[in-house]
């Protein structure tokens, strides 16, 4: 794949789609390497002429040539080189997979936050849609609501009218009761006055003679009664 890290002016204007996105995906694995250093293509390149052992023979031969002709002199640097290279190789073998997993985790987290944002937005929109649908259904049932409200109001009006009717009735009754009470009072008063007048006249008409006669008769009656009472005891 063409690497597109070029200036915009050198971008082919009319021969390709003029957009930088979507970027082609990265390959799954890097180039194949043997012994961590030498690309596989080198081995494939030498395979037709020399077979499988070709590159190894080349390497060994070169190394021995350098050593024997003292083009490469074994001195203290060799020992130092052996040390540092062993440290490097040990570090890579031991921590390599962990570092790769760490890098992958970083990328995963980036992707995950973006995906989470996207999903949250979708979720929010979904709930908004459902809310909207519910609101629409609610609006559909509003005629029932209005009927109930109308009934309510009619009942209120009716109650109010009845109450006022009752007040009127009570007021009228109070006035009529007052009149009735006045009449009874007047009749009572007349009756009392009449009785008093009759009693007064009767008491006045009792003469002294009649008084004496009636007292004597009472005494005689009492005596007779006491005699019969004595006898009973």
């Amino acid at each position: 794949p063409l690497v597109r890290r070029v200036l915009h002016t050198t971008r082919p204007l009319h021969t390709t789609q003029q957009s930088l996105a979507p970027v082609p995906p990265l390959p799954e694995k890097g180039g194949e390497v043997r012994h961590g250093l030498i690309p596989e293509e080198f081995f494939q390149f030498l395979y037709p002429k020399t077979g499988v052992t070709g590159p190894y023979m080349l390497g060994t031969g070169l190394l021995l040539y350098f050593l024997s002709k003292e083009i490469y002199v074994v001195n203290h640097e060799t020992v130092a080189a052996a040390c540092i290279l062993s440290v490097i190789i040990y570090a890579i073998k031991k921590f390599g997979p962990r570092v790769a997993a760490f890098a992958d985790k970083l990328n995963e987290e980036k992707l995950a936050t973006a995906l989470a944002m996207k999903n949250e937005a979708i979720q929010a929109l979904q709930t908004a849609i459902e809310e909207e649908k519910k609101e629409q259904w609610r609006v559909g049932g509003s005629s029932y609501l209005f009927d109930a409200k109308r009934n309510n109001i009619a009942m209120l009006l009716e109650t109010n009218y009845r109450e006022r009717l009752l007040t009127v009735y009570n007021e009228v009754k109070k006035r009529l009761d007052y009149q009735v009470a006045m009449q009874t009072l007047r009749r009572q008063k007349e009756q009392d006055y009449m009785i008093q007048w009759v009693e007064k006249n009767v008491v006045q008409s009792i003469t002294p003679q009649q008084q004496k006669e009636s007292i004597a008769k009472c005494i005689l009656d009492l005596k007779a009664l006491s005699k019969s009472a004595h006898a009973a005891v």
Binding site: V74, A80, C83, V87
Partner: protein, 227 residues
């Protein structure tokens, strides 16, 4: 080519052309070039993560004005890290073992922090010469001492870096020579020296990283004081 002990510290030149510039700019080529992908390959991810970590660490104690230094401090840190670590490979030349390189990095940057402080807030800058709570009798002596300490800072920065790296490289060479010399006569002792060399190499890796960090950290500290 039989090497004397100090050959690795001589400035490299090919046919009279000094190669020090190449040795200083080559490490930058090893860093993966950033593509404009949102999720890049592993190497680029790790590099981005490292740069973020370094920048955050350096910039947190500084205030807004100090953030202008983010780029230079981070790139300085990456440069020193790379150069120091690459110098541990055999037959390589570490530019920071040259005093000229170290001082050339330390002096201008230190001077820049000093001048910034003196120019923008001279009284605050000068007040750093006298720490709080010193008894009155000691004040003159302490001002002199603090001035000396300020003036010595760039030298200290540069020489610290150079001395640490040079000493490390030299030790590696010496112990490696000892191992090579003892190998024919006393292989057992040779093995012992080899073990020491291994441990020393691990130490040198650590020193390489730490020295880079200390350099940049101290610079940011001087910046903090003067911003």
């Amino acid at each position: 080519m039989n090497l004397a002990f100090f050959d690795q510290f001589s400035s490299p030149s090919l046919l009279g052309i000094p190669l020090i510039l190449i040795s200083m700019t080559f490490p930058a080529l090893l860093l993966p070039s950033l593509s404009n992908r949102w999720i890049p390959d592993r190497l680029a991810t790790l590099q981005l993560w490292l740069i973020n970590l370094i920048t955050k660490q350096l910039m947190t104690p500084l205030d807004k004005k100090g953030h202008k230094w983010a780029l230079i401090l981070t790139s300085l840190m990456i440069f020193l890290l790379l150069v120091n670590l690459l110098g541990l490979l055999p037959y390589t030349f570490t530019p920071t073992t040259q005093l000229s390189v170290s001082l050339a990095l330390a002096f201008p940057l230190w001077l820049a922090t000093l001048l910034m402080g003196m120019r923008n807030q001279p009284s605050v800058s000068l007040s750093h010469l006298l720490p709080e709570g010193t008894p009155t009798l000691l004040i003159p002596a302490l001002v002199l001492i603090e001035t000396t300490s300020i003036l010595i800072r760039p030298l200290a920065l540069g020489v610290r870096l150079t001395a640490n790296l040079t000493a490390g490289h030299l030790l590696i060479q010496l112990i490696a020579t000892a191992t090579t010399a003892l190998l024919p006569t006393m292989p057992g002792v040779s093995l012992l020296t080899l073990t020491i060399l291994l441990l020393l190499t691990i130490l040198e890796v650590a020193v390489a990283v730490i020295q880079a960090y200390v350099f940049v950290l101290l610079l940011s500290l001087y910046l903090q004081e003067n911003t």
